[in-house]
């Protein structure tokens, strides 16, 4: 277990480093820099600005400098706004994290409940209804879902107000984000639950006269959870990138918005900061869910 964990952690670190490198060199390969657009800037001013952000040095040296600062915890300063990138990331991440964690929770809880329900009522109408809707939701891209929700519930019916910082209503954005993973988790839970319910130990438990609730919650559900746990990593990644779009549609100033505007503005420190932050989050969530999976499933051997 220890050997495996160390290996995985090392792989994760390498991955994040590679992402940082790709982003840095790819970003610098784009013609034009952060200060190319400002028409009025005099060459002298431009030179000073470029010196300020180390842009006058060769790309390789810039990367090393960035890594050194990064190791000290310095994300740099935005070339556009002049604010600390880390401050921007953490304030906007507070909003994204709230949105994301609510969406993850909704998707997990609803998916587990609906999936178990569908498995237990196999072939009856609740199963059919659940499977019908989950099949449908898997086919709807989140941006379309977000726009349709906004159109129907905000404009036509007027049930929810449009999102604003002073009056944040997360219902619609959370729904737009959570429906796809919820549908996926439902299908996952259903198939793994059906698999578990057919096992011998379930029959044994029933034969012993264990109460049906106990059989379901203690014997079946706990084992059926294993595949769902592995999905938590990809789920987080999905939610984080999905919020890129959903935040745009609902006009929420979260981390995704800063990532997109950062790219559009050639704001090098901002692009690097948001990319590394998001990548670290995603990679570590995948890592945690994989390690957790290995820890709870005795059938898995460690290679």
């Amino acid at each position: 277990m220890l050997r495996y964990s160390v290996k995985r952690v090392l792989l994760a670190v390498v991955t994040i480093f590679i992402i940082a490198a790709i982003t840095f060199f790819a970003m610098n390969a784009i013609p034009g820099g952060p200060f190319a657009k400002e028409k009025a800037s005099e060459p002298r001013i431009k030179a000073v600005l470029e010196k300020r952000f180390n842009l006058d040095k060769p790309v390789g040296e810039q990367f090393l400098l960035y890594l050194r600062n990064f190791a000290k915890g310095d994300f740099g300063v935005s070339t556009k706004t002049g604010r600390e990138v880390s401050t921007t990331i953490f304030t906007s991440f507070a909003i994204s994290a709230r949105l994301g964690s609510m969406a993850i929770l909704t998707a997990l809880v609803m998916g587990l409940v609906l999936g178990s329900l569908a498995a237990l009522m196999r072939g009856k109408w609740p199963d059919r209804v659940i499977i019908f809707f989950t099949t449908l939701f898997v086919a709807v891209p989140s941006f379309i879902l977000a726009t349709l929700l906004l159109l129907v519930f905000s404009h036509l019916l007027g049930w929810f107000k449009v999102w604003s910082i002073s009056d944040p209503n997360y219902t619609l954005p959370v729904l737009a984000l959570a429906l796809y993973p919820m549908a996926y988790i439902t299908r996952l839970t259903k198939s793994s639950m059906l698999d578990v319910l057919g096992q011998d130990y379930i029959r044994t438990a029933r034969a012993k006269g264990v109460k049906e609730q106990l059989v379901i919650f203690k014997h079946a559900l706990r084992n059926a959870l294993i595949p769902v746990v592995t999905y938590v990593g990809p789920l987080t990644a999905y939610i984080l990138t999905g919020s890129l779009v959903v935040e745009t549609v609902f006009n929420i100033g979260g981390l995704g918005t800063h990532f997109v505007t950062g790219i559009n503005n050639r704001d090098y420190p901002m692009i690097m900061g948001t990319t590394i932050f998001l990548a670290t989050l995603m990679v570590s969530m995948t890592l945690i869910s994989d390690l957790f999976y290995k820890a709870i499933d005795p059938k898995i051997t460690f290679d």
């Binding site: 590679i18 790709i22 784009i30 891209p141 941006f143 349709l148 159109l151 404009h155 990532f259």
Partner: protein
């Protein structure tokens, strides 16, 4: 033909090992009938097709996709408008052609209709520049489907080559190749897709001018490159797994003993045995490619204007959504229909062809 009975059959010598025909009973007609072949012998492929045709959802999605394909190829021949053409009446620009509602005519067109002339109706209305929206949605569906299809082919080719080599050669090569796959696999794909599309789009710049590829546009090319760079890893893993499972079979050993080279063994003996699994994975790749394309188009990194795709149409429709909600509805429905059909078809194919799921 002699007819043996207990009386006519030649007597068996007491100590001979010859069987005594007299001991046997003749089969009745009913018993003979049991040996008749009741069902035609079937191949793996035909058996899969039979299973597939019994699945109503798969058949429905095949029908939907066929209908869609026919529509997107036939409609541009029938509808007299072009996707980038601003509608003019008798060569005259009509201001009222912009933002027409479905099945309505502009003022000048209405005059013509009243005069008894025939004007082809705007089935989905027109967009804000006065272009026929129906034909734009049709072309959008064309672009989206084409992207999905070609992206899957790219993924298939790269994944197949990489996976075959890695799985067949094995040893240290396999370990190194799979480490690379592991790393690419753990890259957050959407982040990288956004990043790479922006970069490639700029880097390509004018370098494509004058080539055939130029007509596709830089965005489209960079999208394919991104697919080629990022999404092949799943396919490579799948192919490697299949090859590992098959390569230790005796017939592969026999082929090796007869002096078959690696290329021949992989192409002739291994791939045909796992082609169904690979084929299904490719089919399931199409909807996810369409998803990515529509996502990129939606945030403005997809196909280039004036070429429409379902994603970019949906993005454009977002602006006037309160007044013209149907403009959002048509491309949205298009994406959902295509993705849903491919998903259901993929599930059906897997149930019908995957040897692991057969009972």
């Amino acid at each position: 033909m002699s007819d043996y009975t207990a009386d006519t059959s030649p007597r068996k010598k007491p100590l001979s090992l010859q069987l005594d025909p007299g001991m046997f009973e003749r089969a009745t007609d009913e018993e003979k009938a049991q040996h008749e072949v009741m069902r035609e012998s079937t191949t793996f492929f035909r058996d899969g097709l039979r299973r597939l045709s019994r699945n109503p959802l798969s058949m429905l999605s095949i029908a939907t996709l066929l209908l869609l394909l026919i529509t997107i190829f036939v409609a541009p021949l029938i509808v007299p408008y072009k996707y980038s053409e601003v509608i003019k009446v008798d060569g005259q620009r009509d201001r009222t052609t912009a933002n027409l509602r479905p099945m309505t005519y502009s003022v000048l067109e209405q005059e013509k209709v009243d005069a008894g002339e025939k004007v082809f109706p705007h089935i989905f209305g027109t967009d804000e520049l006065g272009r026929d929206y129906f034909i734009r949605v049709i072309y959008g569906a064309r672009v989206s489907l084409a992207v999905g299809f070609f992206a899957s082919i790219i993924v298939l080719v790269i994944g197949l080559l990489y996976g075959s080599v890695s799985g067949y050669v094995g040893g240290r090569t396999d370990i190194i190749m799979m480490r690379i796959v592991d790393i690419i696999y753990s890259l957050p794909d959407t982040l990288m897709v956004v990043m790479l599309s922006v970069v490639l789009d700029q880097v390509l710049g004018d370098s494509l001018k004058g080539t055939i590829l130029a007509s596709l546009g830089n965005n489209m090319i960079s999208m394919f490159v991104v697919f080629g760079l990022l999404y092949w890893v799943g396919m490579a893993r799948l192919v490697r797994g299949q090859i590992l499972a098959i390569k230790n079979n005796e017939y592969v050993l026999a082929a090796k003993a007869l002096g078959g080279n690696a290329r021949r063994i992989i192409l002739k003996h291994i791939l045909p045995n796992c082609i169904s699994v690979i084929f299904i994975a490719t089919a399931l790749q199409i909807p996810s490619a369409i998803f990515v394309e529509s996502f990129l188009s939606f945030i403005g990194l997809g196909v280039q204007a004036p070429m429409p795709s379902l994603g970019s149409l949906a993005n454009l429709a977002r602006g006037g959504m309160q007044i013209y909600p149907y403009k959002m509805l048509f491309p949205a429905l298009g994406i959902c229909l295509i993705v849903l059909s491919f998903n259901l078809l993929g599930d059906g194919l897997r149930d019908a062809f995957d040897p692991r799921l057969r009972r």
